[in-house]
């Protein structure tokens, strides 16, 4: 075998690729489902916490800041392992899928709360006062006047952070979720050939290159002229 043939046999073996492609595609489905669930729950919780923080109740705000700090400081993999291997000891066991979902949701919640809050505090005080002067109560002012401006400010950093955390779904492979990486690794173990892993890497590229490029576009589209 020439060098190229050996390379192709190992990394781009068509027989093995055909055999394991269905498993990788199923893994792609799991990754997308997990990502969508994480983005939905993480952003909703983050926005909810940021809104709660706008009420300016001292002890509550300290609690929010502490929780946010914890989930910004801990590595996502540590949180996943703690939930998956630790919680059963407390009588609460969770499948790898839901453990990964919960861990990354908490992480995205923390980061997005921070970003939404920065957006809310960036809206000038005069906007609040004007809302009140128009006869709106606190909540309508927040919802109709402050939040639309805050969210616009928050979009570029939020998009990048969301992409980064979504890529963390690959960590699920550590706790036996058969998302792309998990499926690729078991494919590699069964076949004794790394082609499934090449396919897995390709699946991530296909999934995330458009997202990364869209993120770049959104960043310039929503960028504020300094």
């Amino acid at each position: 075998m020439t060098g190229w043939e050996a390379f192709a046999f190992n990394f781009l073996n068509p027989r093995i690729a055909a055999e394991y492609a269905p498993a990788i595609i199923a893994g792609l489905g799991v990754t997308i489902l997990l990502a969508v669930l994480i983005i939905a729950s993480g952003l909703v919780l983050g926005l909810a916490l940021a809104v709660l923080r706008a009420f300016a109740i001292r002890p509550l705000n300290w609690a929010i800041i502490f929780v946010v700090d914890v989930f910004r400081a801990l590595p996502p993999l540590v949180i996943i392992v703690l939930i998956y291997f630790g919680l059963p000891a407390a009588g609460l066991s969770m499948s790898g899928f839901w453990a990964t979902w919960l861990a990354l949701t908490l992480v995205l919640m923390a980061f997005s709360e921070e970003i939404f809050w920065a957006g809310i505090s960036a809206v000038p005080q005069g906007q609040w006062e004007a809302g009140r002067a128009m006869g709106l109560h606190f909540l309508p002012t927040l919802r109709l006047i402050v939040l639309p401006q805050a969210v616009r400010i928050a979009i570029p950093p939020l998009v990048n952070r969301t992409i980064a955390i979504t890529k963390g779904t690959a960590l699920g492979s550590v706790v036996a979720v058969s998302e792309i990486l998990g499926a690729a690794q078991s494919g590699m173990a069964f076949s004794g050939n790394p082609t499934p892993l090449t396919l897995g890497a390709l699946a991530y590229i296909v999934l995330f290159i458009p997202v990364v490029m869209a993120g770049r576009w959104i960043e310039t589209r929503f960028a504020w002229r300094r």
Binding site: A73, L74, F85, A118, I153, A170, V174, M188, V212, W224
Partner: protein, 224 residues
């Protein structure tokens, strides 16, 4: 409640596993000391190169950076560690971690530094050249200090992410903090070591998170 304490905050087990965790902490710090400078140097090189006007340099570089930003770092690490040996290239655990971080965090640092360099007004390097500084002096004394200052929160934030990311080295059996904690957990059948590891990570990184939160608030508020 006492069950919870038994399973998560067991002082006896924490003490028994302290030696393993200490080794892990040292390894984690070594990993951070290796991966942060590696990523920064690679990122800086790519950022400086990407300011070249020729599209033959810039486009492949953007493609390279986007490629490694699209692949999850764990996938890259496992590919280097488990798949490359089939091609006759065996980097070992530390080598795989080093290369994976070089490519992944290098790409992120490159993006950040590029934005920083672009934020320095053109007049600055021109003025420096007019004053007789050599091109390398222009970079080191004029452009880079301003570029770094302009993107400092992003740089710190990325560095924090890199240090957190060293935990994935546990997957390729580098005995860092998380790996050691899981070893201790499987020996003792108790979740306390993982809890202790989490607390160590938190204590280590919390000051950094606090600092960042202040810097970021100021940055986002300043954007308006």
């Amino acid at each position: 409640m006492s069950d919870f304490v038994q399973a998560f905050l067991n002082a006896e087990i924490a003490l028994a596993s302290s030696h393993l965790l200490w080794i892990g902490l040292v390894q984690t710090m070594l990993l951070a000391l290796m991966t942060v400078p590696l990523g920064m140097v690679a990122g800086l090189l790519m950022a400086v190169l990407s300011t070249r006007k020729t599209r033959w340099v810039r486009w492949p570089l953007v493609a390279f950076i986007d490629f490694f930003r699209a692949i999850p770092p764990l996938v890259l690490l496992i590919f280097l560690y488990a798949a490359l040996p089939f091609g006759g290239i065996d980097l070992g655990a530390w080598g795989s971690v080093a290369l994976a971080f070089l490519l992944n965090t290098g790409a992120y640092y490159a993006e950040i530094l590029r934005a920083g360099i672009e934020s320095v007004p053109k007049g600055q390097p021109e003025a420096a050249r007019a004053l007789g500084l050599r091109p390398w002096q222009v970079w080191i004394f004029v452009v880079l200090p301003q570029a770094v200052r302009n993107v400092l929160p992003d740089l710190i934030s990325n560095t924090l992410e890199v240090v957190k990311l060293t935990s994935i080295a546990s997957v390729v059996a580098v005995p860092e903090l998380l790996y050691q904690a899981r070893q201790a957990q499987s020996i003792t059948y108790n979740a306390t070591p993982i809890m202790v590891a989490a607390v160590i990570y938190f204590l280590l990184l919390w000051p950094c998170v606090r600092l960042l939160s202040r810097l970021e608030n100021r940055q986002i508020a300043g954007r308006r």
